[in-house]
Structure formats: structure tokens, C-alpha cells
Amino acid sequence: MTSVPIPSVRPFRPGFWHAVLVLLVIALAGVTLVRFTRGLGASTNLSDAFPWGLWIGFDILCGVGLAAGAFTVMATVHLFHLRRFEPIVRPTVLTGFLGYLFVVCALMFDLGQPWRIWHAMVFWNEHSVMFEVAWCVMLYTTVLSLEFAPIVFERLRLVRVRNLLRTVNTPLVILGVLLSTLHQSSLGTLYLIVPEKLHPLWYSPWLPLEFYLSAIGAGIGMIIFESHLSGRAFGRELEIGLLEPLARVMVVVLAFYGVLRLDLLWHARVLGTIFRPAYESRMFLVEFGLGVLVPVGLLSWSRIRHSATGLVVGGTSAVLGFVMHRLNVSITGLERASGTHYVPSWMELTVSLGLVALGFAAFALAVRYLPIFPEPVRAHGHGRTADPLAACSAGVEP
């Protein structure tokens, strides 16, 4: 590549979402001050009975899970050599990288003494799942930044540095897949140690596998959702030719996951309780409906899979069901044993929403100033250079 494609910078027009972003960031700054001067009690609804809340349940568990698209797509393209998915590699790696940065930021709020985070590197306890989680966060964030770095080097026209990174690409991708496998599953392993506290609708000795499979499914759902959003923002058609086969993989993964869940509930003799008029049962049904039944039911149909609306509804539903599952494991399923009812405080919500908003803003900026949707070399001279995003969808054709 002699010339480096740089996206055209469209004029900035402030709109509704920019105002929301600014307000959220101001609120986030205020809450950050309260959190770090007055402690967790003043800023959260956490307590000794309920020590983990929204920041663990949503920010950490969902942030990591929804970044799973990155390792899935990296493996698909760079290890399985399914090259036609190349165009979605960069937006997905960007999503994964931002997802992990989101997790690290949220961790700084949730940890009681975040300035001691380096302790995990010095004081080892290999019997602790949290120790594994800490190392996975650190190492995979590093891997993601190295997978993201070539995009930045390309933009800075440091082609030689970029090519240097490419020579270690294969071990990097393998490392990324291994770390993701460990990290996604370990978030489920965290809850293996509370068999007497976590509700039987969610506790299972196979929690690590459940977390791993559902993350792969939701990671693909996130790719569809994120393609839809960036498509809308940049006036682009959805790349159905690429997303349709991914949706098929998602159907298979989620169907396998769904059958596994029901099978394990049956073995635990609690399958019959899912229709009971209990709080947990209702939450389970919503989660399972959104996360498994709707996406599998819809996207099993070829016609729905080939429609933009069908893809987006199925993918978004999978993401929402995934979020429900993580919140159910970390919050709903522990409430009965704790004897309390946990509802996040407005400050907890502000931090989560504020960080999500910053993530969206970072994504928009990256897409604006970095070659995220790279213009294929073949498109040169086709008159498409004015809009690299259109050029991207043009590159979809095999």
C-alpha cells in the first residue's frame, strides 16, 4: 500500500446526542469527585449484604462480554483464513478495544483502592479467580491495543512500524483468542464459589462454559448492532452479505447455549420452576426469551436473515438478553440469599451511562479520523474516495 486511506472529515454539526454526551460527562465528573472523596457508601447503594452491583454486573461483565466479537472475528479472519470478513475486522477490534478500556475505567470506580491495581502483578494468588481475571484484563487489553495500533500507525503513515507489528500478528491473534477464552469463562467461574447464594436458575457447575458461549453469541450480536449504528450515522447500507453468515453462526452458538442452559436446569431439577410466579422466574424468562428464543427463532429464517431489519432486531435482542443474563447472575440471582433488594443509585447509573457515552464518542471519533473502514485498494479511481465508508461496503463484493 503506497497511499494510506484517510477518511474524509465531514463538518461537525452539534446535535441532540452531543448535548446528552456533554451533560453526562459533566455529571460523571461530579460523581467521580463524590466517589473518590467520600467513598463507595456515599456514591453507591452497595452494602456488606450486597457488595457487587451495577459496576460489576453491567460495566465489567457486559463490557468484557460484548467485546468478544474482537477475538471471534480475529480468529475467523486470521486463523481460519475466512478473508471475506476482513472489512469488519477493524470496527470489531475497535469495539473490543474500547470495550476493554470501558471495563478498565469502570474498575477504577469499583475497586476500593484502584491505585493499588498493580498489586495483582506482585502479590500472586493463583487459587483466586479474580487473580486470573486481573491478568486477563491486563494482558488482553495489551493485546487489543497491539491489534489496534496498526490502524493508528497507518494513519500516521508509519507503515514500517505497522508492518513490524504484522510480523507478530499470528502469535498475537492466538494469544488474544486464548486470553479471551480464559477471561470470558473466568467471569462465570467467579460465581462457582457461591453455590449456596446464587439462585439455582443461574448457578451451574458449567457457568464458565455458559459465559464463554453466550459471550461469543452476544459478541456477534454486537457486531450486527454496531454495524447498524455506524451505518445509520454515516448513511451506509448494512453489509448483509457479511452479517448474514455471521448471524447463522450466532444462531448455532445461541441454540447450543440455550439447549445447554435448559439441559443443566433439567439436571438440577429446577426446569419446572421457570414458569413459577416468582421474581427470579420472570427475570429468567425475559432473559432467555431475549437472549435465545427471539434471535434463534427469527434468524433461523433465511428471509429474515437477509433483511436489514431482521438482522438488527435479532442481533440487538441477543445483546439485550446477554446483558440480562449477566445482570441476573450478578444481581437478581443473589438478592434472595442476601436478604436485600439492590437497585443502583443514580450515581452508579451516571458512571455507567457516562462511560458508555464516552465509549460511543470515542468510537465516532476513531471512525472519523482513523482508517477503521479501510478503503480497498481496488476502489481507487472509482470516484468513491470522498466517502471511505461507502468504499467499505463496495469492498464487500468478493
Binding site: 500500500m1 486470521h78 477464552t181
Partner: protein, 257 residues
Amino acid sequence: MRYGLLLDTTRCIGCGACTAACKEQNGLPLDVEDRTTAYTWTTVQSRGGANVRRMCMHCLSPTCVSVCPVGAMRKTPEGPVVYDAERCIGCRYCVQACPFNVPKYQWDRAVPVVGKCVMCAARLQKGQATACASVCPTGATLFGERDAMVAEARRRLGAEPRRYVDHIYGLAEAGGTSVLMISSVPFAELGLPTNLPNEPLPGLTWNVLSRVPDIVLLGGTLLYGIYWITKRRELVRRLEGPGAQAELDPGGDGGDA
């Protein structure tokens, strides 16, 4: 593992001397609280007509020791499960995971740490009993070798079978605890968890964690194998397949994996 405590609810009069002695020994604020917190490591509660002490059970295979990512919790050979506040990063996994809900957090501090009973580890090293046991006026809290405490509990149950529920709480719960309890009131009514397995809980996560090296080795081999096969297949397809020229990357990213 050596030392332990025997708590007997039938002898407890709820005077609160144990709480006061604990606070003095450990330099905790003297406010009286009706439940254990990061500032009250033991307290006496009235449950089901009995007085029951709340405190750390000092498990033989402690869950908190296993879950702490930085090894801030440690089981000493003498029996106490001690906490190193200097190491703690504040993840609160111990608070979440403890089967007896013992570790508490300083929610009101900007620089918080965990608070929990440490069985007066410093006193034990000097050959003294715990502060709570040394002030108990009725023998409701007894300190000694754990084996001796088990024998004493068995003796009391055998001598007055009608007075006690026929169970020594802590003998087997979660793999056994250094603190043992006998009672006239069923343990569930005392607010103690009665659904705990008799095996140590850390085994549940270690079963998975101990396989991490296998996952890395086998997974790495498998992934590289798939990479190797599909790369060769791609090469063959490029060289033999129709439209082979169009597939070739004009950028010449040969080093790209």
C-alpha cells in the same frame, strides 16, 4: 489449625463483654452496633430466644483466602484467618464469597479496607487466649486447641442431650471451621447458613483454575494447527483456483498472517 473457639449459646447471657474486649484489643471505635461491620468484628444477637455471637468462623479451608487476588487473606498455622490491609485492592470478592458473610467493608471511607475478626492472632502468638474468650464470664466462649474444643462440645452434647440440638456447627460446614458452635436453638433460626456443603468451597473454583495451563497449551496447539491448515488451503486456492490473479493482494502483505 491448632487453636479454636467453642461458642455455646446456652451459656451466653448477652452481656456484650466479648464485643467490648474485641474493640479494645483491636482499636475499633467503641459504638455499639447490632450487627457486625468493618468496625464491629463481633457482636451478640438475640435469635430464637438464644444469644448468639456473630464472628468469623476461621474456616480450615477459607473461601476468603482462596478468592483474594492479592493474597491479603491468610490462614495461619495457629488457626486464625488474618488480613493484610496493606495488600488489599478493594475488589470485595471476599465479602461476596464468604459462606458465613463475615468480611465487611468500610463503605464510609475514601480509602477503605476490609474489617473482620482475626482471632487475636497477635495474642495467640504470645500464648494468650483471644480477648473475647478471656473476658467471657460464663464460659459461653471457650478458647483452646481445636481438638479439645471438639471433645468438649461432644461432652456437653452427651451430658445434656435434651438441652442441645444434636449438631456441632463448624465441625464439617464448608470443610470445617476453627470456631465451633453448639446451641439449644436450631442453627437456621440463629441465622446461620445451613445449606453449606461439607467440602471446602475453594475446590469449586480450583477445579476450573487448575486447568488453565491445559487450556493454554491445548488451545494454542489447536489454534495454530487450524491456522496452518487453512493458510495452506488458502495458498493452494489462490494458486490453482479460477480468478487467482484477482485474489492476490497487490499490496504484497506477504508477512501478514
